[in-house]
Symmetry: D2
C-alpha cells in the first residue's frame, strides 16, 4: 500500500552510494519521530510535528556543532541567535506548521525543564512550513502533548515519508509534498562518513520540477494531473532542510554544509521564491560537547577534504525532496482542496525516455 | 511612591535633548503595553509581557523597515529569517520570559488570524530574558490571554518602567532590573527626528556598572547593597533592546542603528557575557509599506546624515538602562531570593562628587 | 572565426526572453571593457582585466544600490565592508587574476583621485579567479595601465566572451572557460525590467556539467576531449558573477538577487567546491544616488514582485556560464598546459538527443 | 624623548594585568614590524605600513583560526571571503593608507609566491585608514619594497607606537593618533592566556574621548589644544583593531572576540561614525593548522569560559587606543595641516582630579 521510494522505481541519482536506510537515520544516533494529526471534525486538520533527534535524544546534555543557511527567509526557525553565536545545537530540531512553532518550542522547554540535568537554559530549534491550504491552520490544532509525542516516538530505523508529521499537509511543486529523506556515504580525510538529509517540502512551481535534469514537471504538466494552486491568494511555500553527519566538523564547516543544500534544491527545481522560507540547518555529531568540560578535545576534518561531503549533501537533499514527492499520497482537506500525488507511472516513463 | 527617573535626580547624560516623554513612545505612533504577573500561590511568579507596538497597532497591515544586531546570542528573538530577508517588521515586538517565547509568539499569530486583513502569513517577533532566579519559570505561568492583554493595553504616553511587563523579574548589574526607556531628538538631512529605546535589562556584573563614566557599581559595591547573584548556577543575563525612529531609513540603515545600541550598552557597563542574549532590534516608521502596492515610493536619509541618529541611539540606550535601574524596586521572589534596588542616594552622591 | 553562442546553436534554455544583446549590456548604461594580455616572452602570460561599468562610468558620482553573496569564499572581492554597510556600489566592478587584485584596485583609486568630483574616498570592488595553470601568474604580468585600459575600453553593445579580459586564462568544468554573459527580460510590479549577468567562469568538474539538465559533461567525458586538470596540485577554481538590473531595488533586494546566482550555477553543474571562490555581486540602477543629497527619493519594487527577477537571474547566470564555454577556444599556455574548448558538435548532438 | 605610555603616567585602567610588554607581542610568536615614510619632497608624505605577524612569520604554512567584525564598514579589509568561509588566517595582517591597500596586498602575494612551500594560493589580509589630511595620499607614495620591509622588520619585543608604520599620518579624537597596543593576562578553563590588541587609530570627535570614564576630550576642549578637523570636507576616520590570543579558540569564538573590541572602542569614546571603517580582526594561535593534515586534532576553550577573554579584549583595545594617543607626537604635514598631540599634563591632571 505504501508508495515506492525513488530507488524502488529503479531511479538512482547522483554518484555516491546511499546508506543502508537511505535516510537521515543512517547517521548513527540520529532518530526521527512524527506526530500526525488528521481529522475532519470539528475543524479540518492535516498537520503534525516531526522531530529530528541527534544522539539518541542525549543532545540536551551533549551538544552538536551546527550551522545554518537562509536561502530565502520567508519562514521561521527559532533558536538562531545561539546557534550562530555558539555554533552549537542543544535540542532536537522540530518542524511543524507555521502558526504553532511557538507551542512546539515551549513544549521542548518543558521537556528540558523536566528531564535534563545540564543547566536551566535552552533555546530550542523549531522550523515550520505553511499548511493552510489543506489544513485549517487558524484552528491551532496541535497541543503540547502532540509535540512531545513526536519526541517520544522518535527512534532509529526507517523513516516514514510523505503525508506524515510536520509534512502532513504540505504541497511541493504543485503535487502533494511532505517529509522526505535520503543519505549518502562518502570517504574523506581517511575516514568514511554518512551525510543524511530530511526535508519538509512545501515549495515550488509545477513547471520547475526536475528529476536528475529531466524536466518532469513540464512533462507531466497540469492537464494530466491538476496542480494544487490554481486559486488566488496562496502565500507560497517553503522548505525546511535538516542535514546530519557523523563527520568531525566544526561550526564553520556546518555552515558550509548547510549552504550546499541549495544545490540539491536547485537541481530539484527550487528557485527560492519570495514567499518561501527556505531554511537549512546542518549538524555534525563527530565531536562530543558534554557539559562540565572547560576545555574540549576536538577533531576537525580539513577544509580541503570537504568536497565529498558537499557532493553528498547536494545529492541527499535532491533525493530527499524526490522521496517526499514519491511517498506523498493524494490528499483532500480544508475547504475541499485536493493536492494530487506525483504520478509515479509518469515518473518511470520520463526516466525511461532519457537517452543517457 | 514611584521612584524617580534618572533625570528626576538631576542627572543628564549625553548631548542630545530627550523627547517630551523621554520614552520610546515619543516616536509618533509607537505604543507600549505591559502585562505583569506577580503572585506567590500556587507557584511564585514574577514575570510578564511587554509589547512595543509600531503604528498604533496597524503594523500588521503597514509594515516598518527594520534591522537587528546580535551582540551576543545567548537568547531568543523569533522572526529573524524574514526580518533579515525582507528588512521588514510586520508585527509588534514582544518581550517576555525565556520559557514562554513560543506562547507569546503563537498568541500573536492568533491575533493576526483574527484581526488582520492583509494575508494569512505572519512571522511575529518575540524576545526574552531569563527571570528564573526571582520567578518559578518552569511553572510556565503565562497564558495566551496574558500576551494579548499586553497588546490590548498598549497605548501612547508615558511608559511604566522597572518591575513591569517582561521586565518584572529581571536583574541588572546585580541590582533589580527590568524595563527602561528613553529618547533623543536630533536634526539630520534637513529634518528633525526622534530616536527612542526600550530595554528589558537583565545583564551584567555589579562592578562594571557606569553612570556617564562614573564607576557607580564599584562605588556602591556589594557590601553596601547585597548583590543578587552570590549563589552558584546562575545562567547569566541578557538584554533586549528595541529602538524606534520616525526617520526615513531603509533596512540597511536600521541594521546600522541596531548595532549602535552596543555603544550605549558598553557605556553602561555591558561587555556581552557568554551567558547573555544581547539582541537589538531597530525599526523606522518614516516609510509606509502597506499591502497591495507593487511599487513603493520611499524616502531615505543619506548615510552621510546618520551620525546624529547614531549618537541618539547610543544615548537613548544608555539612559534607558539607567532608567530601568532607577525605576525597579527591591523584589523578593522564588526561593526567597531578593534582588535589591539601585540605591538612589548613592547615585546622587556619586554624581555630585564628580569634578567635571 | 568566432565560435557561436549557445543560442546560435539553436539552444534556448529557460522561460524568459533575453534582451537584444543577450548580455549584461542590455541593462541601460551598463558597459563592459576588457584588457587581454597574451604573450609567450619573456614569461608565458594568459591573463587580463574585465570591467563592468554601471551608469556609463558615472557610478563614481551616482552610486548604485548593490548586494553580494558568498556561496563559497575561497576567493577575493575587495570593497565588501562598505558594500555591506551601505548597500552601495561606488565604482565599476573589475575582475582579474588572483595575484593582481591589489594592482587593479589601486589603479581604480588612482582613476578616482584624478577624475572624480565627489569626495576623496573610494573603496573599489575587484574580484579574481586563479589562472596559474595557463598563465605564469607569479610573474605579476599586469600593469596599472592594463587595468585603466579596460576601463577606457568599456562601452555599450555586444560583449566579447571566452578567452578575453579577466577570463583569458580560465578553465571551467575542465574545458576552456572565461568570460560569458546573458540577459533576461521580465515583467514585475507593472514595469518591464532587464536582468543581465556576466561571469568569469573558472570552476567545476567535467562530470558535473549540465546543459538544461542534460549531463553534457558525462556525455562528452574525458576520453573524447582531454580534461585540463589531470595533474596534481590544482588549487581549484572559482566563479565571479556580476548581476545588473535596471529594476528599482533597495540593497536588501540586491542581496536576494545575488543569492539566486546559486541556482544558475547549480543548474550548470556547480557545487561550490572547497577551493572555489564563488562570489556573486548584484547591483541595481533603478534608483539614482548622486552626491550632495541629504534625503533621497527612492522607488522600490515590492518584495512580492521579485519572483520574475529571481527566475531571470537564475536563467541569465546559467546561460552566461554556457556562453563562456561556447565562446572559449582551446588554449595552450604556461608549461605547455592545454585547456580544450567545449566541443560544440557534441553539444548539438546531446541537445538533439533529448526526448523533450 | 619618547613620550610615556599610559601606565608610565601612573594610569591603570581595567581589572586584568597586562603582559610584560603590555603589547600584542606578549602573545607568543606574534611579531610586529613597521615601515614609516615621512618626507616633504617631492610630495608631502606621512604614511607607512604596519605588519602584525603571527607564528614568527610561519603563518603562511601554519594557519591560525580567525574571525572578524564590522562595527562600521566605511573601510577596507581584504581577504574577508576566505576568512569568513574557513575561519582561518593564512597571512600576516597588514595595515596601511587607504589608497595603497592593493599594493600591500599584492606585495604579500609576491612574498608568498617566493617564500612559501604550501600551495600557490593566498588571500592576504590588508586593512587601511585614511591619512590624506596629513599626507598627500594621492601621490601613492608607498612601494612594494616598503610593504616587504615592514614584514622583514617584524619581530618580537616592544612595539613602537604613535606616528609609525600605517599609523604615521593618523588622527584620533582630533588629536594626533596612530599605532597603539596593549595586552591583558587572564585565567580561563584551567589555563592562563594572553590577549593582545594593536590599533591603527584614526577616528572620533574630540568631545567624545574618555579616559576610564573621565570625559577627557571635553575637559581639554579645542581651545586649549586646537582640533585637527576644523575645516570642511574631512571624510571621517576609521580604526582597525587586530586582536591576538594564544587561547585555543575555534573560528566561531574568534568572531566573538572581535565583536568585543566594540566595548573597548565605546569606552574610549567611539560611536562608529558613518565615515568610519571600524573593522576588527581576531586570531588565535592556540591551535596549529599546518598544511598536509587531512584530519586535525584541536583544542577548544568552552564557550562558558570565555568571559575573561571578553574582558581582556575590551580592556586591551581601550588601552591600545589611549596608548596610541599618548605616543603620537604633534605632526605637521600636507598643506601645512597640523595635528596636535594629546597634552599629557592635561591627562595627568584629569586623572588626579577624579574622586574614586
Amino acid at each position: 500500500m505504501t508508495r515506492p521510494r525513488l530507488r524502488d522505481l529503479g531511479i538512482e541519482i547522483g554518484t555516491l552510494p546511499p546508506g543502508p536506510l537511505n535516510a537521515i537515520t543512517d547517521v548513527p544516533g540520529v532518530w526521527v519521530g512524527h506526530t500526525t494529526v488528521v481529522r475532519d471534525e470539528p475543524r479540518v486538520v492535516r498537520t503534525g510535528v516531526t522531530m529530528i533527534v541527534p544522539r539518541e535524544n542525549r543532545v540536551w546534555e551533549d551538544y552538536c556543532f551546527a550551522g545554518w543557511f537562509r536561502f530565502n527567509g520567508n519562514g521561521e526557525l527559532t533558536g538562531l541567535p545561539w546557534l550562530e553565536e555558539s555554533g552549537m545545537l542543544g535540542s532536537p530540531v522540530a518542524i511543524t506548521n507555521t502558526n504553532q512553532v511557538g507551542l512546539v518550542r515551549d513544549a521542548m522547554e518543558r521537556f528540558a525543564a523536566e528531564h535534563s540535568v545540564r543547566n536551566g537554559f535552552w533555546l530550542p530549534v523549531v522550523g515550520e512550513t505553511w499548511d493552510g491550504w489543506l489544513s485549517d491552520i487558524n484552528s491551532f490544532p496541535l497541543t503540547e502533548d502532540d509535540a512531545l509525542a513526536a519526541l517520544a516516538a522518535a527512534g532509529p530505523g526507517p523513516v516514514v515519508e510523505g503525508n506524515v508529521g510536520g509534512g502532513t499537509g504540505m504541497i511541493c511543486h504543485d503535487f502533494k509534498g511532505g517529509i522526505g529523506t535520503a543519505s549518502r556515504f562518502c570517504q574523506a580525510g581517511g575516514g568514511a562518513w554518512t551525510v543524511g538529509a530530511l526535508v519538509q517540502a512545501n515549495y515550488g512551481d509545477r513547471a520547475d520540477l526536475r528529476l536528475d535534469g529531466v524536466p518532469l514537471g513540464r512533462l507531466i504538466g497540469c492537464d494530466r494531473v491538476p496542480g494544487a494552486y490554481h486559486e488566488e491568494g496562496s502565500p507560497g511555500g517553503s522548505i525546511i532542510v535538516v542535514i546530519a553527519t557523523d563527520a568531525p566538523l566544526i561550526p564553520t564547516q556546518c555552515n558550509r554544509l548547510a549552504r550546499r543544500a541549495t544545490v540539491g534544491l536547485a537541481r530539484a527545481g527550487g528557485v527560492g521564491h519570495d514567499g518561501s522560507g527556505d531554511l537549512f540547518l546542518a549538524f555534525a555529531t563527530g565531536n562530543h560537547l558534554p557539559g562540565g568540560q572547560t576545555r574540549r578535545r576536538l577533531e576537525m576534518l580539513d577544509h580541503g577534504e570537504m568536497d565529498p561531503l558537499f557532493t553528498a549533501t547536494a545529492e541527499a537533499v535532491e533525493e530527499a525532496i524526490l522521496n517526499a514527492l514519491c511517498a506523498a499520497e493524494t490528499m483532500t482537506g480544508f475547504r475541499g482542496h485536493t493536492a494530487h500525488a506525483l504520478p509515479l507511472d509518469a515518473v518511470a516513463e520520463a526516466w525511461a525516455a532519457r537517452p543517457w
